[in-house]
């Protein structure tokens, strides 16, 4: 009879702090938990009493990797609450910087957090010794995407030029064209990335679940749209609570969510499953090379879906730049508060999944309440469900391998743990 005890304290190569606990006694799975031990962050409380124009700057500090995602969702929530319309120029620029962040976050995850597992090394450092070209490529892509973000939003991290109603700084046509050249040149690096992932021994694991993401008819949705699920449900963004249904669990400082099933998954794989048709042709070709088409139900392939999104974002960025250059850029008058408050919800599908910001703003423009539902938080229940399904399948393997598979499973989700913990401490059992 099998007895297995996996206890990974502070899992490495994920953002934030979490422990994996798996306890199998006599072949029976007794305990299977992802314990989030990250300290609470209190961002929702921090926003209370602050003027509306500070929200995006404060909430962008929730994360250093997805700061633009938080800022964008924040701005959309504020604009929704105050009935602010943004220009098409602003929409194009926001999409462009968002693409930059998607590429930046995904390349970090795929090359530096996930790849070492496949190469049998503990981190990217030994990988740099044995496969320097691979690591150089990762740094090159990261530099490109970081420069793209800085060009559009004024800074690589924490997008200072993004404001309610628009941008306080615009890139020049010259800068846009120079960036376009670099993006075109990056196609080789994208091809190499897909080729790299094609050759990896992805674990075989299937588990049906519900996939939740934003959706739009005419584009691969990252900002705005409607909430869609692979179980066929669709909601307007303000109705997000009907999807999330947040609840507490004793072993975690982060809340869990559930919708139609016991859990659902958000992130690149969810977007891929919902919005495959809207992918750029080159991204679809990449998907074909990787043998992926909806419905993909192997959580490990979330990282592969990220690589497909990288290809898409490079191509779509080129198209966005073409459109911006064609239109020319115009300085637009800044938004002025109209003396009327309101409640609003904004949503973006950031690198790790669908994100909601909801604010209540009063007649003086001060934030009276805020609610942020973070993608990683929405994945915890699904991560645990995957763990429960995977463990029995690999019980016969050596203990070290079981532990490694558990770690790889959680890493595949690209969890951003410090983003997701903002509830007060609960007592551990």
């Amino acid at each position: 009879m099998t007895t297995v005890n996996v206890n990974v304290h502070h899992l490495t190569r994920v953002e934030g702090h979490g422990n994996i606990v798996v306890d199998v006694k006599n072949g029976e799975l007794v305990q299977c938990e992802l314990q989030i031990v990250e300290a609470p962050r209190f961002f929702e409380a921090m926003l209370r009493g602050r003027p509306y124009y500070e929200a995006s700057h404060i909430t962008s500090r929730i994360c250093g990797i997805c700061s633009t995602g938080h800022a964008t969702a924040s701005l959309r929530a504020t604009e929704n609450a105050l009935s602010v319309e943004v220009s098409e120029q602003t929409e194009l620029l926001r999409k462009l910087v968002f693409h930059g962040e998607i590429i930046d976050s995904h390349v970090l995850h795929v090359y530096m957090l996930v790849a070492p597992d496949f190469f049998g090394v503990g981190s990217v450092l030994p990988l740099a010794a044995t496969h320097p070209e691979v690591v150089k490529r990762a740094l090159r892509i990261k530099k490109l995407s970081g420069d793209l973000c800085a060009m559009v939003s004024g800074r690589h991290t924490h997008p200072i030029a993004m404001a309610v109603g628009g941008f306080t700084h615009l890139p020049s046509i010259k800068e846009l064209l120079a960036m376009r050249e670099r993006l075109v040149a990056a196609r080789d690096d994208m091809d190499e990335t897909i080729a790299l992932l094609q050759a990896l021994p992805w674990p075989q694991f299937e588990r049906e679940t519900e996939y939740v993401s934003l959706q739009k008819e005419d584009e691969y949705a990252f900002i705005d749209g409607r909430i869609a699920t692979t179980d066929g449900f669709t909601y307007a963004i303000p109705d997000y609570r009907q999807v999330t249904n947040e609840f507490l669990v004793p072993h975690s400082t982060a809340k869990h969510t559930k919708h139609n099933r016991d859990s659902y998954m958000v992130g690149a794989l969810a977007r891929f499953n919902n919005n495959f048709e809207q992918l750029h042709p080159r991204a679809k070709a990449a998907a074909e090379k990787l043998g992926m088409e909806p419905l993909v139900t192997n959580s490990f392939l979330n990282s592969a879906a990220q690589a497909i999104e990288m290809v898409h974002c490079v191509e779509d960025s080129i198209l966005l730049i073409d459109e911006l250059v064609d239109r020319g850029l115009r300085e637009e008058p800044p938004y002025r508060f109209q003396g009327k408050g309101g409640e609003g919800t904004g949503s973006c599908d950031v690198p790790r999944g669908i994100l909601f910001h909801n604010y209540v703003i009063d007649e003086e423009g001060l934030i009276q309440g805020a609610n942020c539902v973070i993608p990683t938080g929405q994945n915890y229940a699904n991560m645990e469900a995957d763990m429960r399904a995977l463990v029995p399948q690999i019980l016969d393997r050596p203990h070290k391998e079981i532990t490694h598979m558990m770690e790889m499973l959680i890493r595949a989700y690209d969890p951003c743990i410090s983003c997701s913990t903002h509830f007060l401490n609960v007592e551990f059992v």
């Binding site: 490495t12 190569r13 530099k143």
Partner: protein, 168 residues
């Protein structure tokens, strides 16, 4: 072609990077000195950057520079405010690291990675300043505050010094 005794391709091109978190007490000393340096008329080819808490991006930053000077709070075994200037040849930062945490990747990891990738500058000089504390505050301790002019002077002397003259 030069021989081993001197180099006739000596370049004064130098990137000075101040590192640290200005909100963590003495950890902000590198950024403070970088900030002060920016107010001086520095020789052509010298650039000053505020690196903050950047990690692996430093690899990109350093690439292509013949000489990099890094200024940071560091455990150098001295009384608070004391500082040490050392080069990477003196081997104090390098070592094996199997458990790199990307989220916490900092200078050490960036230098390791740069070396492995073959993009480490020819000269990397580190000014390590011993902190008194790394508390949550945006001010330096009195000891480190007092050390700032001395560190600044040492860095400036190093930047302004004329290069060796090839003889013979």
């Amino acid at each position: 072609m030069g021989n081993a005794l001197w180099s006739n391709t000596l370049s004064s091109d130098t990137l000075v990077i101040g590192l640290g978190n200005p909100l963590r007490g003495d950890d902000g000393v590198g950024m403070r000195i970088a900030d002060l340096l920016a107010g001086y008329r520095l020789p052509a080819g010298v650039e000053v950057a505020q690196g903050g808490t950047r990690g692996l991006e430093l690899v990109n930053w350093m690439e292509g520079w013949p000489r990099v000077i890094i200024i940071d709070a560091a455990e150098v075994g001295k009384a608070p405010g004391g500082f040490t200037r050392f080069t990477l040849d003196e081997g104090q930062l390098l070592g094996n690291d199997q458990h790199l945490s990307i989220h916490a990747a900092g200078l050490r990891e960036a230098l390791l990675l740069a070396e492995v990738l073959g993009v480490l500058p020819d000269e990397v000089i580190v000014y390590g300043i011993q902190p008194a504390h790394l508390d949550w505050t945006d001010t330096l301790s009195p000891e480190v505050e007092a050390a700032v002019p001395q560190v600044l002077k040492s860095v400036l002397d190093e930047l302004m010094a004329p290069g060796p003259v090839a003889c013979g």
